[in-house]
Point group: C2
Amino acid sequence: MSVSDPGNRPDEMPEAPIVGAPAAVTPPAESGERRSPAPAVAAALAAGDRARAIELSVHLHAADLADLLQELSTEDRQTLIGLLRERFDPDTLVYLNETVREEVLARLGSAEVAAAVSALDSDDAVDLVGELEPDARAAIMARLAPSDRAILETALSYPEESAGRLMQREVVTVPPHWRVGDAIDYMRARAEHLPRDFYEIHVVDEQRRPVAVVPLSRLMRNRRLTPLTEVMQRKMRLISVTADQEEVAYQFRQYGLVSAPVVDAEGRLLGAITVDDVVEVIQEEAEEDVLRLSGVREDDFYAAVVDTTRARFSWLFINLLTAILASIVIGFFEGVIEKVVALAVLMPIVASMGGNAGTQTLAVAVRALAVKELTATNAARIIVKETIVGGINGFLFAILMGLAAWAWFGAPVLGGLIASAMIINLLAAGCCGVLIPVVLDRFGVDPAVGSAVVLTTVTDVVGFMAFLGLASLVLL
Amino acid sequence: MSVSDPGNRPDEMPEAPIVGAPAAVTPPAESGERRSPAPAVAAALAAGDRARAIELSVHLHAADLADLLQELSTEDRQTLIGLLRERFDPDTLVYLNETVREEVLARLGSAEVAAAVSALDSDDAVDLVGELEPDARAAIMARLAPSDRAILETALSYPEESAGRLMQREVVTVPPHWRVGDAIDYMRARAEHLPRDFYEIHVVDEQRRPVAVVPLSRLMRNRRLTPLTEVMQRKMRLISVTADQEEVAYQFRQYGLVSAPVVDAEGRLLGAITVDDVVEVIQEEAEEDVLRLSGVREDDFYAAVVDTTRARFSWLFINLLTAILASIVIGFFEGVIEKVVALAVLMPIVASMGGNAGTQTLAVAVRALAVKELTATNAARIIVKETIVGGINGFLFAILMGLAAWAWFGAPVLGGLIASAMIINLLAAGCCGVLIPVVLDRFGVDPAVGSAVVLTTVTDVVGFMAFLGLASLVLL
């Protein structure tokens, strides 16, 4: 882990394909099509051509090597890591999916992992070690140099997914009475101890509390004698070290921040978070919502069959209970179904339309809650709006489906029944599509997790109840 | 539009709440709870207290004022903009949702909008003008200074959602034979013409083709006499000016980029994209998937009732057709339902479990496709895995639901029927949950848009067919 990078490393990445060399400028492909080396590597491994497999993978960017490892089957992955072992780029670990990473770490063994951790930037090392199981973590920590271990231990003392885990601890601080030239001289003199890359310096008072930041571009364009107070930017959004990463991402997105100082409870500067640290968080948070809305608790794309099955089972089990509930509702009306079997044919349409209309509303509401557009101020207005939208679409589909049912079974009464039930269920779907996530959010439950199952229960029960209940009144 | 910002503006934001002042350090709240000024502003407007409404909103950060405007009802919004008119911060427009922005622009009128566009940074101005209707755009363009208009016209000549729209056109370029001191002197001399904030300078050859970049932090820590060739970073990922923003976001995320040079077809430097320009894109792309998977074509949170209803109708209409298809399948088996009405009670359970299991798989597959983890290399393996997961869960739920149905209706044959149908449908759900998005993607259809409706059609039809078909064989 290189806390103080010696700097002056013209190229940080391995030397192989110089994309930007003046003679051979090759802009990246326009489209998303990318030739993955995975099929060729898999073929080479299958043919036992180790030299070819190494040749194809050893010069890859760490991110692309991570992708390659993920695309390969477990067996091929293990073989390739064995082949690359001595030349394995530690940065690859940073880019790997959690499940695959565990597998790779196990294959590498703790001596090699400890060496990799030492080679990583401190924030990447924290990330990697933070996700290990307690046993594995202890094994790695024991093999680290005491200074590295101390840094990791401090970082890991902040809660998971907090600003403390995201921040870079290495920041350049200067006192407010300096001039531009003082700051530049100071950085030149301390070149060995500066972070590898940084975009601004922090002006702090005697208690190390942030006073202002000076973007490097402002230092650059001003004369050496200009006082820092004339070029510094006093407006900052401080981030508490214990703030949740979701809150950090919100701040960066809301205010278009490029970087923000991180402070402790006394307001003293502990580090800084830059926007590139937050990109991953923003993407993760948005992805989580996609998965949770569909009943997947966490991304299990690379997980083993048993783990995936177990994770999915509990959600399906809850769904089974709600499906049984809907069936019990149907059971109340066995008599009328026995008499008019066409009801059994038509009833899933009412439930399905309610479910789909509700899901549309739900997705919009969950997203709006996540980005804090749906608030206490406008919740009532949005519920009314969505109920009206549901009502109008309910009315339109009532006409369509009413006529269709009449034509299909030649019974106008069936058309009237399904039309009435359609309006009732789409009104319920629009209203509950906002109401359910808002209420869950108010009670501190992640609306992306619980909303869908509650909503489909409502639309199923209301749909069957309205359609079959009205049918009982009219037909029995 | 300030292409060349004079720099030296110590504070970019209005003076009001100095978050970072040494005496009053107030770290942001830990949680997502934020007091929105919206209720107080709405109350002031309702009470006709204009002074109070202005007082509450005039000192807000542009991003917070945008939120406030979004939270207010249309009427209050119009009133508030009328009150703030002369003191309206143009940056607010950048943060507004598209629908609300159009409303605000209409209320402001083209003279005021043209003034706002002139005051914005060039990339924000491009963003704003690029989203206007042709008529509105022409009206604004006609009122701009010729130099501003020319810049906007060039930027708008790049396709929407392309790198050309995202990039900053103002970059600092230097020749490769310079020393660190030359670059610093050059920037000091040209202070007036430098972009407001930048993080690196670009080394280009005589044809203005990128050779390398030099992060400002590297300029800072090296002696004036050090040649740039010793500190520059030759590894760059060039971005074509016509590349889609999704591709740009992918590059930034995949390789953890902080900035990338943008080049034309001849490889000449046109501008640069920094990670903060990409954050919004990453979030948008992820959000789009959440909404599309649920049948919402675009975010209509702030759209009028009529627009929202129309947008949702088409998706619901397609769903109606698939629901009718499922009903036709049920219709084939009216005979057996008439004989054993319990079948009508139980059949939605089979369809519902299939739909939910399939949706879980689908969400994982769509996400994996979006981040390019699901590829031609591993598609077959993932389909097999998900089919096995579906099969195992199918088997488990077959036992559970088989016993439940037996107990409920006292008929072991019903238990056997629902158990068999459950296994068949969950196998189909697992397999099709991956297969459908992969096939749509292969044919160039956005898998987030079409997958869900195809999938639920499959799980409904297979579910009803398996359950009722087996019942016909056994019971008739």
